[in-house]
C-alpha cells in the first residue's frame, strides 16, 4: 500500500516551504514536490530587501535556503519531480509526476508563476541566444551591443534603464503609445540618452543563425510589419522580455475554476474542492510578494491540518 501523506504540497517556493514548515511542525506527514531547485522566482532574485527580518543585501537563494532548511528540520520531505496531472476530488488526492505518483489527504497548490512569454515564433529557440527574461543574468553579454526591451510597466522600464549601462542603445518596444510605469520611473527614463522607444509595437517573430539577429515587429495601429536587423558588425542583438507573470496552472484547467489563470480561494486558502488549498502567487490576490506567499503557506497548512482533524482522516 502506497503511503498517503497528510499534505502533499506542489511547489517549493516561499509559499510551499512555509506551508511545509507549519505542517511539519504540526507533526503532519508532509511531502513537497518540486521540479527544480527550491525557491521558485526568488531563486532568480539578486536582492530581497522587503522581507521582514531579511539580512541586508541578502540574495534570494540565500534567503530561500533558510526557508528550506527550516522546513526539512521540522520533518517535511521533498521529492524532485515534475507534476503532470492531478486528481483532486475524493478523500485521497493523487499528484501524478513524471517519476511517481504521490497520495495525500489534502493538497496545497503552491506552483507559483513564471515570467510571461511573448509567445511568438522563435522565442523558445532563441532563449539564451539573445532572448532573455533575466537582466541580472544576461545584461553583461550585451556590452556595446544593441538591446530591445519588451514591455511598458515598472519592471520593463527599470530593467531597460539598467541595461543602458551595458548596451550601446536600448529600445523599449511597447504595445501602447505611453508607458504604464509610474511617473517617477518614466521621468528618469526619458532623461537617458541611449534609451529610445518604439511605440504601438509588438514583436511577431524572432530569428537568426544560431544567435538572435532578426525580428519582425508589428504596428498595433496599422497592422504594418517591419523587419529589424542586427547591425552587420554586431551580428546579434538582445531582446529582454518583461511583460508580467503567468501562473503555473495549465494542468489545473478544467479541474478548478480559474480567473485569468489564477486559482481563487477564500481567506483560509480553500479552493472550491474540499481538502484542496492554494497558496502564494498562484492565487488571485492583490500583492504577490515573499511575505504574502509565506503567510498564505502558513494559513493553508493550518487549514489543511484542521480539515484532516474534522474529517477524522
Amino acid at each position: 500500500m502506497e503511503k498517503v501523506y497528510d499534505i502533499v504540497i506542489v511547489g517549493a517556493g516561499p509559499a510551499g516551504l512555509a506551508a511545509g514548515l507549519y505542517a511539519g511542525r504540526s507533526k503532519l506527514a508532509t511531502l513537497i514536490v518540486e521540479k527544480e531547485q527550491e525557491g521558485g522566482q526568488i531563486g532568480q532574485t539578486s536582492e530581497i530587501d522587503n522581507y521582514p527580518g531579511s539580512i541586508e543585501g541578502e540574495s534570494g537563494p540565500s534567503l530561500v535556503k533558510r526557508f528550506a532548511d527550516q522546513a526539512w528540520r521540522f520533518g517535511a520531505e521533498k521529492v524532485s519531480d515534475t507534476v503532470v496531472d492531478m486528481e483532486l476530488e475524493g478523500d485521497t488526492k493523487k499528484i501524478v509526476g513524471e517519476s511517481g505518483t504521490y497520495l495525500g489527504k489534502t493538497v496545497i497548490l503552491a506552483g507559483g508563476a513564471v515570467p510571461q512569454k511573448i509567445n511568438c515564433p522563435g522565442e523558445e529557440e532563441f532563449t539564451g541566444k539573445g532572448v532573455s527574461y533575466c537582466a541580472t543574468c544576461d545584461a553583461a553579454f550585451f556590452e556595446g551591443f544593441e538591446v530591445f526591451v519588451v514591455g511598458g510597466g515598472d519592471a520593463a522600464v527599470e530593467e531597460a534603464m539598467h541595461l543602458t549601462k551595458f548596451a550601446r542603445k536600448v529600445t523599449i518596444i511597447h504595445r501602447r503609445d505611453e508607458l504604464r510605469a509610474v511617473k517617477a520611473i518614466q521621468e528618469k527614463a526619458f532623461k537617458i540618452d541611449n534609451l529610445e522607444f518604439m511605440w504601438n509595437s509588438v514583436v511577431k517573430e524572432l530569428s537568426g543563425d544560431g544567435l538572435l539577429s532578426r525580428m519582425v515587429v508589428e504596428d498595433t495601429k496599422t497592422g504594418e510589419q517591419r523587419e529589424v536587423l542586427a547591425d552587420e558588425d554586431d551580428g546579434l542583438f538582445g531582446v529582454f522580455v518583461f511583460i508580467g507573470f503567468k501562473p503555473n496552472t495549465a494542468i489545473l484547467d478544467g479541474k478548478l475554476p480559474l480567473e485569468n489563470g489564477y486559482v481563487r480561494t477564500d481567506d483560509d486558502m480553500k479552493t472550491s474542492i474540499p481538502g484542496v488549498f492554494a497558496a502564494g502567487d498562484i492565487r488571485v490576490k492583490s500583492l504577490r510578494q515573499v511575505v504574502t506567499a509565506a503567510a498564505d503557506g502558513a494559513i493553508a497548512a493550518t487549514q489543511a491540518g484542521k480539515y484532516i482533524e474534522e474529517h477524522n482522516m
Partner: protein
C-alpha cells in the same frame, strides 16, 4: 570542478578527447549561483567518467558568444570538442543536467 578561462578553454574543452561538461556562469547571475552546488555534486559523482569544467563568462564574454552562449546559466556537453547537447536557462535544472550526463556515460 576545473575552472577554465579564455586562455585554457581551447586546450581543456575544444582539444579534449571524450566528453566535457562545461558550466557557463557569470558574476551576479543568481540562478547560476543556485545551480552551482548541484553541478559540484554531479562533478563528484560522475567526475571519474566525464570531465567537468566551469567558465566565468564575465571574464570571457567574447569566448562565450563564440560558443553561441548568450544566456545564463548554460550547461554544454562537448564530445571531442564538438557541442553535443546544451541546456539553457530554465531547462538547465540539476535533474535535467544529470539526465543528460547519464545518457552519455
Amino acid at each position: 570542478m576545473l575552472q577554465v578561462d579564455k586562455d585554457t578553454f581551447e586546450a581543456e574543452v575544444l582539444q579534449a578527447e571524450g566528453y566535457v561538461v562545461c558550466d557557463y556562469y557569470g558574476d551576479g547571475c543568481v540562478p547560476c549561483e543556485a545551480l552551482m552546488p548541484h553541478m559540484e555534486k554531479l562533478a563528484e559523482t560522475y567526475g571519474d567518467r566525464m570531465k567537468f569544467v566551469s567558465l566565468n563568462t564575465s571574464k570571457a564574454r567574447r569566448l562565450a558568444i563564440g560558443q553561441k552562449v548568450l544566456g545564463l546559466p548554460t550547461i554544454v556537453l562537448y564530445k571531442d570538442g564538438e557541442k553535443v547537447k546544451e541546456l539553457v536557462k530554465e531547462d538547465a535544472t540539476a535533474s535535467a543536467v544529470e539526465a543528460m550526463i547519464v545518457e552519455h556515460l
